[in-house]
Symmetry: C2
Subunit: 277 residues, 2 copies
């Protein structure tokens, strides 16, 4: 199974750590320093970094997970050109499909590079969305499934997390931002799936905590965690973040939904708009 | 005693909470939502918010603390105009002094509005300084005493805090950023002050944790703290942040140093440059 996700967020959002935590292995080297500002050309403000990981679930099903990281996003003094690089990449994948569909002789080794899900990392400011968040979701939402994520959720108390989720969703609704909110056909869904999708919608934006460190607890269990002087946390503890739910949603329960929605709705819309000129 | 500090940082850095923590009282309402992006005019990207607090130290010495907060800083898609508003304000205070000094009849009720210290809140990204950090310190450093601060230090493990401090100081040195690094006259300083200043220099950037919440511990002591599911922390615990040291430095040990440096060095340089045309 081929699945492609893009992870977008400012440096220090914890994107690389999240990728490693999601895959349960070192995929990205989090210590590789981002380019120093003004080091070379100030025109290079965003780079797309590709990683590929083969994951296997409990039933032996293999997933080839393609991850696109975005170091440099939102890190410049003027970030207005960030989006073009991402938009061009997304549209380029759609163009490749368009070309391939119109060929008489199909290329048997054609690789579908479309992004099935874009995780957008929001820094919990306590004040809702910033301009860059609103603009990104407004411009990219029509092209790719965006799932908003609150990063570094361990910097929030229980009340702050609730408050930040509410403020962010209020803004998402206020600006009518086209995020992926687990849509379904009202008349064509099982009760169970209806429950699941409604529940997932209620959790948005998902809160995540990531870590590259593994610890052995007193009872000999191994956890991926963060160790503070005032306490230790397990990133997979469902009581303190939605990480486990998000991982399950992306790689198991909604992998196909996300791929279908990309192909049947988002790509279809792009195809129609492009062909009608 | 009159003392003026400016607090600069993106929304969500914890500026308001820090101000309340510093003063030990509710000075700023942290729940007042910042303007929604694009709500009114996108030209208003930074507001200067003035607060005044009267503090009294253990010896009964009264300090009139003037605090200038900067909601909106670094929150826009394009932040290149942020600095002008701050630069204009700082220079305007110097201009006022210049005018007052040149008057034949002095105004007995003249109020000195110069900023004695600017706390610059850096988000710990794990990758050193961002372009906005470098540019701010480069442009404002010659006009005002800048003390760099790592905000929300409770989102960092002990190793991460050390690592972030190192990366940030490496960048400050690499770009030769003119921060206030506790300067002193080599041949005109007591051993004790030499020790103190060298020690404070070694702590830069200061790490801070702030909180609006107060808790009563089992042993009946009251602390200003942050309560997480995995543990409770006391923001005044010197082992986990430099907050207490920073407060002491600003309001007691280095209050006069900062005022003198502002008047004798920074204002003097501005005066010379302005009068020579
Ligand atoms: N508090 C906290 N820190 C995190 C988390 N994830 C990553 N970090 C730390 O944040 C810093 C930057 O992480 P990194 O993954 O490199 O972020 P990126 O620049 O977005 O790729 C590192 O010091 C990480 O250890 C998290 O969930 N919570
Ligand atoms: N983890 C952590 N959160 C903080 C800290 N200080 C403030 N906050 C939280 O960050 C959010 C924004 O704080 P605020 O003071 O309004 O930030 P401002 O926008 O810079 O003025 C609020 O939810 C605060 O409770 C801190 O030291 N650590």
């Amino acid at each position: 199974i081929n699945f492609t996700i893009m992870v977008v967020g400012q440096s220090g959002s914890g994107r690389s750590t999240f990728i490693n935590t999601l895959c349960g292995q070192q995929v990205v080297d989090t210590s590789t320093s981002v380019l120093r500002p003004n080091d070379n050309s100030t025109a290079i403000d965003l780079q797309l970094r590709h990683e590929m990981v083969e994951l296997e679930d409990d039933d032996g099903v293999k997933i080839q997970l393609n991850i696109i990281d975005t170091p440099g996003f939102g890190d410049s003094l003027d970030n207005s050109s960030n989006f073009d690089i991402i938009k061009d990449y997304i549209c380029h994948q759609y163009d490749e499909i368009l070309l391939e569909e119109s060929r008489v002789r199909r290329n048997p080794r054609f690789k579908d590079g479309r992004i099935h899900c874009c995780l957008y990392f929001i820094q919990p400011s306590g004040h809702g969305l910033k301009e860059i968040d609103v603009e990104f979701m407004k411009q990219m939402g029509p092209l790719v499934n965006i799932i908003p994520v609150i990063c570094k959720a361990d910097s929030l108390t229980v009340e702050e997390l609730k408050f930040n989720k509410k403020l962010i969703m209020d803004d998402i609704n206020y600006y009518a931002l086209p995020i992926y909110n687990f849509p379904f056909e009202e008349d064509d869904i099982s009760d169970e799936d209806y429950q699941t999708n409604t529940y997932l919608r209620s959790l948005l934006p998902f809160s995540v905590i990531g870590s590259n460190d593994v610890y052995e607890l007193d009872n000999k269990t191994i956890i991926r965690g963060r160790k503070y002087p005032w306490g230790m946390l397990d990133v997979e503890d469902p009581n303190i973040s939605d990480f486990v739910i998000l991982r399950n949603t992306l790689l198991i329960s909604h992998l196909n939904d996300l791929k279908e929605y990309t192909h049947e709705i988002l790509y279809e819309r792009y195809r129609t708009e492009t062909l009608s000129g």
